[in-house]
Symmetry: C2
Subunit: 219 residues, 2 copies
DNA sequence: CTTGTTAACTGTACGTTGTCCAGTTATGTT
DNA sequence: AACATAACTGGACAACGTACAGTTAACAAG
C-alpha cells in the first residue's frame, strides 16, 4: 500500500502505476461496497485506480475472471462455525453465508450464474459442510447433493431478498429482517426434512409411480 | 398474422410494419428459444421483425418491461395440477415450474432479480399453491412465507442447473437428468420439513438462544 | 370526402459498455 | 551496459439501450 492506488492521473505513457492483481480486486470490492454492482465497470474501476481501462487486462484476463475473484473473495467472510452440535454448525454456516451474500446485493445472482464460485474459500466452506453432513449420518453418496441443496437454497433466498421489486406493482418492499427470519425458518424446514428418517424415506423409496407427468414445458 | 413480421426491410419512412405488443413479445420469445438470452437485444429483436430498433419503444416502454412480459409468459406453461392429494399437487406444480424454467436457461436468473414475476400467470399459480398449502393445514400466516420458500427454492435450483460452469475448472458438467432428480429430492425434503409437526416446532419454538452469533459479514 | 389527430415508424445520434491492437518505456535480469 | 518482459497509454471497434425529431399511414370526426 505504498506506491499504489492514488488516483494520480498525471502520468505519462510508459509510466507505471504499481498495480497488482490484488489491488485491482480490492478496488473492485470497494466500488461494490460503496456504489453497488451496476456501478462496477472496467472503466469505473480503472478510473478509481487512476489508470486507463485496458491497463486492467494486464492483471485480470476478463471481467468474468474479476467477478469470479470477487465472488470467492466474499465467501472469505463466512465464518466456519465451531459449535458442538454438527447440525447447529451447518445451520450457522448457512446463516452466515446468507448474511454475507445479502451484504453485496448486486453480486448475488452471479453466484447462481457461476455455479457458486469454485475458488479457495468456497472449497474450504464446502469441505467443512460436507464433513458435518457426514457426521450427521448422511451416507457418502448423499452428502454432495445435500450440500448443493443447502447452498442453492441459501443463495436463492439471498438473491430473492436483495432483488429490487418489480417497478409497476407497489408492494411495500418487505423489510430485510423479515426476509432473514423467513430464510431461517425455511432453512430449518430443509434441514429437518433432510436429516429426518422420514425425509430419507420420502427421498428414496416414495411411490413415484402414478405421477401425472408434469408436462416438461409446452411452449 | 396477416401483415406482420415478414422481414421486409424495404420499407420507407412512415410505412407501417403492423406490429403489436404481442407480436414483439412473441418474436422475443422465439429468439430466446432459438439462440438463448444473450442473443436477445433490442437490436436483434428489431432485426428479426424487420424494423429499426427504436420502433420497439412504441410497443414496449423498456427492455425491462419486455423481459417481465417474457418471464410471465413462460409461467403460462406451468401446469396446474389436478391430483387428488394436495401435497402431490404442490409437488407436481413445483416440478412443472422447474421444468419450464430449465427450458429457458438464460432467463432464469432474472426471475430472482425481478422477484419472481408478478404477472397474470404468476398470480394464478400463486393462488393455486396458496390454496393447496391451506388445505394442507398451514395456518394463514404461514402460507405466504411457505409459498415464497417453495418458489425461491425452485427458481434457485433451476438457475443452478442452467448455469454454465466456471470456465477454468473442468468439472464434467453434471447431466440435466441428474440435476432434475436432485431437485426432486430436495423438494421432498423441503415439503416434508415444512408440513411435519416437527418442522413446525423447529420453525417457531426452537431454542434459538445460545446461538454463537453467526457474524453478519465482517468486511 | 375532406380534414385533423394520433401513433407507428425511420434516421440519426449520444453515451456507455467490454475488449483488442500497436505502440512506449520503466523495471528486473543477464 | 544491453536486453527481454510486461505494465502501461492512445485510440479504436463493435455492440448495447435509448432519446429526439421528423415523416406519414391509419383512423375518427365533420
Amino acid at each position: 500500500m505504498d506506491t499504489a492506488q492514488q488516483q494520480g492521473n498525471g502520468r505519462g505513457v510508459g509510466q507505471r502505476a504499481g498495480l497488482t492483481r490484488d489491488a485491482v480486486v480490492r478496488a473492485a470490492r470497494e466500488i461494490l461496497d460503496t456504489d453497488g454492482y451496476p456501478a462496477l465497470s472496467m472503466r469505473s474501476l480503472a478510473r478509481a485506480l487512476g489508470v486507463r481501462p485496458n491497463t486492467l487486462y494486464s492483471h485480470v484476463s476478463d471481467k468474468l475472471e474479476l467477478v469470479d475473484a470477487l465472488l470467492d473473495d466474499r465467501l472469505g467472510a463466512v465464518v466456519i462455525s465451531r459449535s458442538r452440535d454438527p447440525q447447529r454448525r451447518v445451520r450457522d454456516m448457512m446463516r452466515s453465508t446468507y448474511d454475507v451474500l445479502v451484504g453485496t446485493p448486486g453480486l448475488v445472482p452471479l453466484y447462481l450464474t457461476r455455479q457458486g464460485a469454485s475458488g479457495e474459500n468456497a472449497q474450504r466452506l464446502g469441505r467443512a459442510l460436507r464433513a458435518d453432513l457426514g457426521e450427521l449420518g448422511l451416507p457418502e453418496a448423499q452428502r454432495q447433493p445435500a450440500l448443493s441443496t443447502l447452498v442453492v437454497h441459501t443463495i436463492g433466498f439471498a438473491a430473492y431478498a436483495t432483488a429490487d421489486p418489480a417497478r409497476d406493482d407497489a408492494r411495500p418492499a418487505r423489510p430485510a429482517a423479515e426476509a432473514r427470519a423467513e430464510f431461517h425458518r425455511s432453512l430449518d424446514w430443509l434441514l429437518d426434512g433432510m436429516l429426518s428418517r422420514d425425509g430419507a424415506r420420502a427421498a428414496s423409496g416414495a411411490p413415484d409411480a402414478g405421477s401425472e407427468d408434469p408436462a416438461r414445458g409446452r411452449g
